[in-house]
Amino acid sequence: MYKIVKKKTLNPTVIQMEIEAPLVAKKAKPGQFIILRVDEAGERIPLTVAGVNEKEGLVKIIFQVVGATTEILNSKKEGDSICDFVGPLGVATHIEGIKKVCIVGGGVGCAIAMPVAEACKKAGATVTSIIGFRNKDLVILEDEFKGFSDKFIMMTDDGSYGRLGNVTVPLKEMLEGGEKFDEIIAIGPLIMMKFVVLTAKPFNVPVVVSMNPIMIDGTGMCGCCRLTINRDGKKITKFACVDGPDFNGYEVDFDEAMMRGRSYIDFEKHAREETCNLLKKG
């Protein structure tokens, strides 16, 4: 069993937990993920590591309450335990040698983007952060981002906080204004990452994206997390769990990934409704 040592609400639907998992805490690097199962009847879900406290053996996860499993996870309190927590899985984000980076985060993806920004800053890079949310109420981790950024831009879709518009707006302005980045690291909804790639393309800036497909084992056994990568005119199958989760944004077939991500949409809606009813009764 893995104890929930700390729990904090970051916004109405985004929760932060610190889980006691010393072996994972010792190893986890920015960009890697864990898989957890809340209870014996639960499914295995991947969540990216949002930070570690190696001394106390804690691993920080940040999740949005979007479905049955995250509802059940959110029903747990500090001091409760979850039955499985395994990791760190996937390949850590490569930050070596990057001198000037633009981190683009969207929504709950900022939970993953923040430790990457931190790692880049600590490695001596100049960090520009552009983070975007639907509205003011959903903003998370603003202070943390500011702390690790040389330049910080906040965007909201409705203009209720920071600048109005998508994250691609200031990115495009900067690139058009002659700003040079060694790399853009985009972490957020698939549609956001797709448009970051399209925005960066005319300027020939490398874009790394963090993929989050449906997974089961997460260790390179089931093949559920496969993605199509277009490389040298060929279509290659890659697995996000062992080959990723980071990929060259120019090679990813985003449309296919978006389609696959919705494979169980009806099941998920139904499962969430049932779970909510159960939790209400409880």
């Binding site: 009847a41 499985d84 089961i216 084992d217 390179g220 093949g223």
Partner: protein, 469 residues
């Protein structure tokens, strides 16, 4: 007394009934049938059956004990060589191993050795809970990577010799392919958990949720004081065909489909893991895993299940018994057929239509067998203009796996072959000192018993080595 020329039939659930439940297909010999079948054994001097067994069980000896109604002693006899008799009695391909060598088999049907093994193991599990922890421990620490058949066997053999054994398992449940791969109706999970429990009683410690190569590396295991490591990490990532449409919604690898149903129990009510149920299903491939996937689909409520296999029935690699069971249950075998495209729904007017990307069919081409290749297998060749479309909404690809890269990538000096399988010598020793390996991680997808044989070989070699220290 005249010898009964035929093996005593295995009692099974009726095909029509079992096609809709996950209970075990074969219900097992009764004591009465077991005694009759044991009587068929000639107890011949040259014991060819023992040679046919990858772990060399003393087959005539345990059958004699059955004849004498000393079932517990029969179990002890099997246990000398096998750590997982209840599993092997169910999933071993006995027809191509022990039973293929049986002297009786020259004139008649061979003795039903597998069925007798299963009877003895089930008898023991029902009547005895004893599993003695060895009295003398030798304080040597051995780490086992993976709790599938090779790892469990290696752990069991070493624990019986007094070693301090720890198994590291990546998933949340021990058992490896016995748990995530082989379905309940062929190998009930309570049997696997019983075997795992027996190992715990022997003093083996099992740590789940530890991925070697990620959570810990092999070098770190040595730093932690383990003196030898056995890698039984199993087969890895599923292969795909590389045809159009393999990423559509409703296309699974057999590993994913079976993991959802077996490990995550998606077939049960109240489990959160989803799986696509019902409709028409095509399973591509002809191995045991393909049979398992097809029969699982049927039990999950599919109205029609096809097996698509590019060669003929003769070449189909699955066990005969599994193929027969599948046919009895109503699986439709499309042999000499090869898929060339999976077709998805596409609403060009509305890109947001949730049906977009759902499988609606699989386009296949008829095949014929050409000249034998260098291995003597006749190569399947497509027949021109023979394309046709099967109307399906789920496709399960079951054409083998490629080795998992996690351990290779994080263990310096561990050599692998061109297929990515770990290279070992006849003792199971890898290119790294004190690192042994066996099972699918070495051979690529093979059988449970061959993995057990490899676990056994490595246990013997580890013992030989550590004894000298």
């Amino acid at each position: 007394m005249a010898i009964n020329p035929k093996k005593h039939e295995m009692p099974t659930q009726d095909a029509k009934v079992r096609a809709h439940n996950f209970d075990e297909v074969a219900t097992g010999y009764t004591e009465e049938i077991a005694l009759l079948e044991a009587d068929r054994c000639l107890n011949c001097k040259n014991r060819p059956c023992v040679e046919g067994c990858p772990v060399n069980i003393n087959i005539p000896e345990f059958i004699v004990k059955i004849k004498e109604r000393k079932f517990e002693e029969a179990y002890d006899e099997i246990s000398k060589s096998s750590s997982l008799p209840a599993v092997c009695g169910r999933v071993c391909p006995q027809e191509s191993q022990c039973e293929s060598k049986c002297t009786l088999g020259i004139k008649f049907e061979p003795v039903g050795i597998g069925r007798l093994e299963r009877f003895v193991a089930d008898y023991h599990n029902e009547h005895s809970n004893e599993m003695k922890k060895p009295e003398n421990t030798n304080n040597h620490k051995v780490a086992i990577v993976g709790s599938g058949p090779s790892g469990l066997t290696c752990a069991g053999d070493l624990a019986k010799k007094g070693y301090n054994v720890t198994i590291f398992e990546a998933l949340h449940t021990a058992g490896g392919v016995l748990v995530y791969g082989i379905p309940e109706f062929r190998l009930p999970k309570k049997i696997v958990s019983k075997e795992v429990e027996n190992l715990s009683k022997l003093g083996v410690e099992i740590k789940t949720n530890v991925v070697i190569g990620k959570t810990l590396t092999i070098d770190e295991l040595f730093e932690m004081g383990y003196e030898a490591v056995f890698v039984g990490s199993g087969a890895g990532l599923p292969n795909f065909m590389g045809i159009k449409g393999e990423s559509l919604k409703g296309v699974y690898s057999a590993n994913e489909y079976l993991t959802r149903s077996n490990l995550m129990k998606a077939y049960k009510e109240k489990m959160v893991t989803p799986i696509m149920k019902g409709g028409k299903v095509a399973v591509v491939g002809g191995g045991n895993v393909a049979m398992d996937a097809a029969r699982t689909a049927l039990r999950l409520g599919a109205e029609k299940v096809y097996i698509i296999y590019r060669r003929s029935m003769e070449e189909l690699p699955a066990r005969r018994e599994e193929v027969e069971h599948a046919m009895e249950e109503g699986i439709d075998f499309k042999i000499l057929t090869n898929p060339i495209e999976i077709i998805g729904y596409e609403n060009k007017e509305d890109k947001r239509d949730e049906k977009n990307g759902e499988v609606i069919g699989i386009k296949c081409i008829k095949m014929e067998l050409g000249e034998p290749d260098e291995k003597g297998r006749r190569k399947p060749m497509p027949i021109d203009n023979s394309e046709f479309i099967l109307d399906v909404n789920t496709v399960i690809i079951s054409i083998g796996t490629a080795p998992n890269p996690l351990i290779k990538d994080t263990t310096k000096g561990l050599e692998v072959n061109s297929h990515g399988g770990i290279i070992v010598n006849e003792d199971g020793l890898t290119s790294r000192d004190r690192v042994y390996a066996g099972g699918d991680a070495v051979t690529g997808a093979a059988t449970v018993i061959s993995a057990m044989g490899a676990g056994k070989t490595a246990a013997r070699a580890i013992d030989e080595y550590l004894k000298t220290i």
